[in-house]
Symmetry: C2
Subunit: 343 residues, 2 copies
DNA sequence: AAGAGGCGAAACAACGTTGTCAAGGGTAGC
DNA sequence: GCTACCCTTGACAACGTTGTTTCGCCTCTT
């Protein structure tokens, strides 16, 4: 027998089942059985193998394992806009919990609102043979995913619908929520309502704007495009927009912020000025109840959104072959913020 | 030639390079070359192969690829406590950005403060042959990672040090920051300062408590254990603790919240009562400047924490073999919140 | 015109694991 | 005592890809 000097020197290569087998004096297949807790292995051999595994620091190569077995990779992909945004962080949080409950790892990718990047990332996820995809879409055409979906990779779209692809979808009642929010302002007597939105190109924003228009139409108030500001990406931009609108002749007496970051910026500016303009915002946020002024928010259960989507995905992974569903979650109008100090 | 009926029927199996090769009438290896943009392939064959790839919807199997080539998997693992917490979300956000800049995917796993789960998840990540690990540790013993680290899997610990393992570490100046925060309260004349912390078992909490004690000692103020509340996990618990302490005889005139969630709960309770007790909090948060009362926070650059750690990790992945480093980032005392309304 | 050299393409092996099958040995049933 | 069956173990092939080697052919050189 050739003396092998590599036992301690060859630290650069990871030990494989072959190494473990040699060390334990058993066959490769027996190692495989022990590592996978397969039955019908003598206790003594099990012990020898486990000892060798521990001594060598062997760790099964998950890549080789799932390549050979053709079984699932126990990985799902989550595509969102941006992790640091609390809305997506909440979705990612539940997705992680549910993935964990299903012994599955979670790959998170950020599209940063770019359809190109979205396509590239989804392709990359597929190439890693994820068992399923959770997607908050940035683009409007997802037909490029059709081959994958037909090949059996389940996908669930979250918060916004897919374009050109019939898949499970979980949405919020954006239109109804916005309608209720604006109606509240109208009920309070406001007739000039400033509307602040991120980007009209985004599905949720269009829906919310439609809902706002619904409420205006129902109340017989003319829709004034001069009161709508598009392209507001962050709180600072929202604050500037509010400032500009208030400085105009015949300024708005109320504002409707179409997402949480916009609302935050609007609160800031109104507070800075001591303005008593009313404010309703879409999306709840953790510290909304501590806002220094009364604030009505169109709240939705973000965790439920993520949970339902993830559960649906794992049902599909588990073999559910029923027709794709679209689920719409309700929103709720909630009064938040601190009571206004007496004048 | 045998007529193959499988072309459209066999939708259940994914096309492989062999299928593409057959379709394009070239060898397997030529397909591999085309897919990998290798040189020395006739343009005509390239076109035929690409056409076959498109027709079949072929996507390279990344598992097989990195198994065979032995190259990196272009994946890193990030272990944190909980994604939904803004602190970790910020870290995950930068980690994702930097991973993306390095054409790498990011697997995020949540330990939920459980050392057992932490060990299990890290092992699982290693078994997937990630190229590197970013770890916000939950446990205190990480010697189980030694075999992996010695085998060349780089690991960078973030926010808390590793136990029993010499690896790169990026920390905040917890002790110095807490010392500065408490000193501010002492300078303002406070002598009874309530201290609220999550868990003394957590490194950062111990450090911050030590820093608070430093400041007290320097000012010659006796450390009163009765003013310290441990085990405060969420804002509601913080609010309850503040309420209890204020209802005691000889209540604190100031509070020090040792993390953002605790501070949030304390703000809430102080505001509810209209108490004028002072408050300093460790950790900044997005809406801190909108808090309804003056609030001094020990702010640190969370994104920098994540960025430096991720950059260090990719330097290691890129081949940096220098000795492990420990980097401590400074904190800053910042006045936030709204000016107190005139009495 | 013949040899050298290089390029294009294919055949083959291998990555680390698991599914399949076969074989040896022991035991139970008749 | 012999067959049949099960338990245990191992040899071998295969998953889908890429590194290596080989081979043929074309071009360039002298």
């Amino acid at each position: 027998m050739v003396l092998r000097v590599t036992s301690d020197v060859n630290r650069t290569k990871r030990p494989t089942m072959v190494d473990v087998a040699r060390r334990a004096g058993v066959s490769l297949k027996t190692v495989s059985r022990v590592v996978n807790n397969a039955p019908h292995v003598q206790q003594e051999l099990v012990d020898r193998v486990l000892a060798a595994v521990a001594e060598l620091g062997f760790r099964r190569n998950h890549l080789a394992s799932s390549l050979r077995s053709g079984r699932a990779t126990a990985t799902i992909g989550l595509l969102i806009e941006e992790i640091a945004n609390p809305f997506y962080a909440a979705i990612a949080g539940v997705a992680a919990e549910i993935a964990r409950a299903n012994d599955t790892m979670l790959i998170i990718a950020s599209s940063e609102e770019s359809p190109d990047r979205e396509r590239q990332l989804l392709r990359e996820l597929c190439s890693r043979r994820v068992d399923g995809l959770l997607v908050v879409p940035a683009g409007h055409d997802h037909s490029f995913l059709r081959p994958e979906v037909e090949l059996g990779v389940p996908a669930v779209f979250v918060d916004r619908p897919a374009g050109g692809l019939l898949v499970d979808t979980v949405l919020l009642d954006n239109r109804g929520g916005a309608r209720a929010g604006v109606r509240r302002l109208l009920d309070e007597g406001h007739r000039r309502i400033g509307i602040l939105l991120d980007s009209i190109g985004v599905y949720t924003m269009r829906e919310r704007l439609d809902g706002a228009q619904d409420a205006l139409a129902e109340a017989g108030v003319a829709y004034d495009e001069g009161l709508v500001r598009d392209g507001i990406r962050d709180p600072a931009a929202a604050a500037r927009a509010v400032a500009e609108m208030l400085d105009q002749p015949d300024p708005p007496t109320a504002f409707f912020g179409l997402n949480n970051r916009i609302t935050l910026g609007a609160v800031e500016e109104l507070q800075r000025r001591g303005s008593d303009a009313a404010l309703v915002g879409f999306d709840d946020f953790e510290s909304a109840h501590l806002m220094p002024r009364p604030l009505t928010v169109v709240a939705s259960d973000t965790r439920a959104l993520g949970r339902i989507a993830a559960e649906l995905l794992f049902a599909r992974i588990g073999g559910d072959r029923s027709l794709p569903r679209t689920i719409v979650l309700p929103t709720e109008l909630v009064r938040r913020g601190l009571p206004r100090p007496r004048a």
